[in-house]
Symmetry: C2
Subunit: 368 residues, 2 copies
């Protein structure tokens, strides 16, 4: 069967009440669906995306060469089987791929919000999705699945809308962002903020996409250190030079340097710097126990079947952070959870790259 990829934009005129006390009104949410919704709407799976991800998680657009970011996982006969499930992935509020964000026009003006855009939290992102699903007349879903910031959303769903999903799969994520992740984000934020081409937020987005914003490139390079693991860097780059002729040993460029440069500068062509500031802020302030007396109290809210997947080589969200959640669940007598620590040395990116190491767990969870 075909993937049946469809892209929609939903416009909301009612205000979205944010955790900060501010409101967003009106706002748009862009989302993509795959597969076919069955009659009683009981075959929905929600996919949540990460920091730089989008609603485009599967299939390939006509003029594109690159497929969606979880294409290996979602499709006919794949782990998340679109012959069976109706899959929805929304671009989060605050992002730059169509949903309302800092560079969207600030009503009633045509100029973008820029710094007038409110601080958005992971909880806000989830609330906006919940409202969208209400509008689509979907009130209960089979599963919510996400990695990294997507995993944060999955967990927030589990705690704040405990009856919404039967199953939750959160991977390569945490219950509260730890100082090393905040530190990596800080480097990127500072690099962006201090770049004169950023013009204190008043840059021209077209110019940035054309020229690249070196501050964001530098920040992204730091990010890439956290996405890889030491094992994968050693295997991938070692001490190899980009070219090995003659004097390169003293004067040449290491392959790891070239890799960081390429990925850093390429990133500035497709991601918006102000959005990077807002989304990293959302990640930094994420803490699922906010509003509860403790992590225990927060996790007591969970009624869905929960699967936690961590990756041994993950430098950004360490496997022990997910183990902590599993321990809490055990302590509070939750009988409906599984914790899996995947033996990968790929680093944080494992949830995007090493599908073969965890897709069977997703399949089992969805079938079982």
């Amino acid at each position: 069967m075909s993937l049946n990829l469809k892209t929609y934009t939903e416009h909301f005129t009612n205000p979205l009440y944010l955790e900060s006390g501010r409101i967003l009104e009106p706002y748009d949410i862009v989302y993509e669906t795959y597969g076919t919704l069955n009659k009683d709407k009981s075959n929905v799976i929600v996919i949540c995306h990460a920091l730089t991800g989008s609603h485009h998680c599967a299939g390939t657009y006509e003029k594109d060469t690159k497929a969606g970011w979880w294409d290996g996982l979602i499709g006919s006969k794949k782990a998340i089987d679109t012959d069976k499930y109706f899959v929805i992935c929304t671009n989060v509020i605050g992002s730059c791929f169509g949903s309302t964000g800092a560079m969207s026009p600030r009503p009633p003006y045509e100029q973008p919000y820029r710094y007038k855009f409110p601080v958005v939290t992971i909880k806000d992102m989830v609330k906006a999705q919940r409202i969208l699903f209400d509008k689509l007349d979907i009130h209960r879903v089979e599963a919510i699945i996400g990695g990294s910031m997507g995993g944060m959303q999955a967990l927030q769903f589990a705690i704040h809308y405990p009856n919404f999903a039967k199953k939750i799969i959160a991977m390569a994520t945490t219950h509260a962002t730890q100082p090393w992740a905040i530190a990596f984000n800080k480097v990127a934020q500072e690099a962006i903020l201090k770049d004169p081409d950023f013009k204190q937020g008043y840059y021209d987005p077209d110019v940035i996409k054309e020229q690249g914003l070196s501050g964001m490139a530098v920040g992204r390079m730091a990010g890439h250190i956290s996405f890889l693991s030491q094992d994968s860097m050693k295997e991938k780059f070692g001490r190899e030079y980009k070219r090995t002729d003659g004097l390169y040993e003293l004067f040449g460029k290491f392959q790891v340097e070239s890799y960081l440069e390429y990925n850093g500068y390429n990133f500035t062509k497709w991601f918006d710097p102000l959005t990077y500031l807002y989304i990293t802020k959302a990640i930094n302030i994420y803490d699922i126990s906010r509003g509860f007396d403790s992590l225990q109290e927060a996790m007591k809210k969970i009624t869905a079947q929960l699967m936690l997947i961590s990756f041994k080589g993950d430098m950004l969200f360490k496997n022990f952070e997910m183990k902590e959640m599993a321990d809490v669940l055990k302590n509070i007598g939750n009988k409906n959870h599984t914790y899996i620590d995947i033996n990968s040395n790929y680093g944080h990116d494992a949830f995007l790259v090493e599908l073969d190491k965890f897709e069977h767990h997703i399949k089992d969870m969805l079938n079982g």
Copy 2:
């Protein structure tokens, strides 16, 4: 007894032949001594400094509040006892604290070398020190001790001047800089190079010291992530905010952010950006097996008694990198080495901070 701190500048008119094939001529080396040289010059200990260190490793200058970087280790009755030993620490060639570097006047002009300064390697730094010691009529020393880039120098001494030191202590270092360390350096280098105030190397050093160079601050922030460990960050900062009044949970600054900012910007007041590029380059291209068929062949040159000390929490030079050296030494039948892995969760900075965890090993090595 007093520390007997003395600072000297030695001027060399003969060319220094560098690994790159270029020469440095003339050049200066600044160095500091502590304790008293005995009659037969048999009580010398050489200390080698790290990337941002200097020759000032012990004692406190009259107008300073801060002591030298290894003051806890070097002095009367301390692990490196200046009542007994005559301690010498030189500022490496290429650095910015008095020895000839990129911002020194380029003869016959008064203008600094800037990019015309040659690439300097760790081997070059060691060679320049060896020539200085020759001039001081010191041809054999009791020990050479260093951490991080200082450890690299100690190892280069051991391999290239095997008869020069009786004992070598190298800590928190490696035999060849690995891609993750190169990656951290790359972020800093790129951040400096792309800062418009850096003016492609033609900045005014006084202006930089006054205003701070945000590119270097950003780079240093990335560096600090590698100096700390995740354990130490969790203990030191957790998810605490700098201030905890009211809305700070959503809008405030995390303590870890504040720490990085302070250390990043403060760094630009006392370190030169062009020097940072040159010294990180030297660290990146460091590989003690360069010029040999293998690491084994290089390490076969070592005749001194060797002590290798790694720190479990070190993120920059992982403990297994030093373990690799110890394994090689074992394989080639070296009976004169010790490898110690210190149980510290302090990260790379442990060699500067957690003296109590390793000073007894240094004492034992010097006495034994």
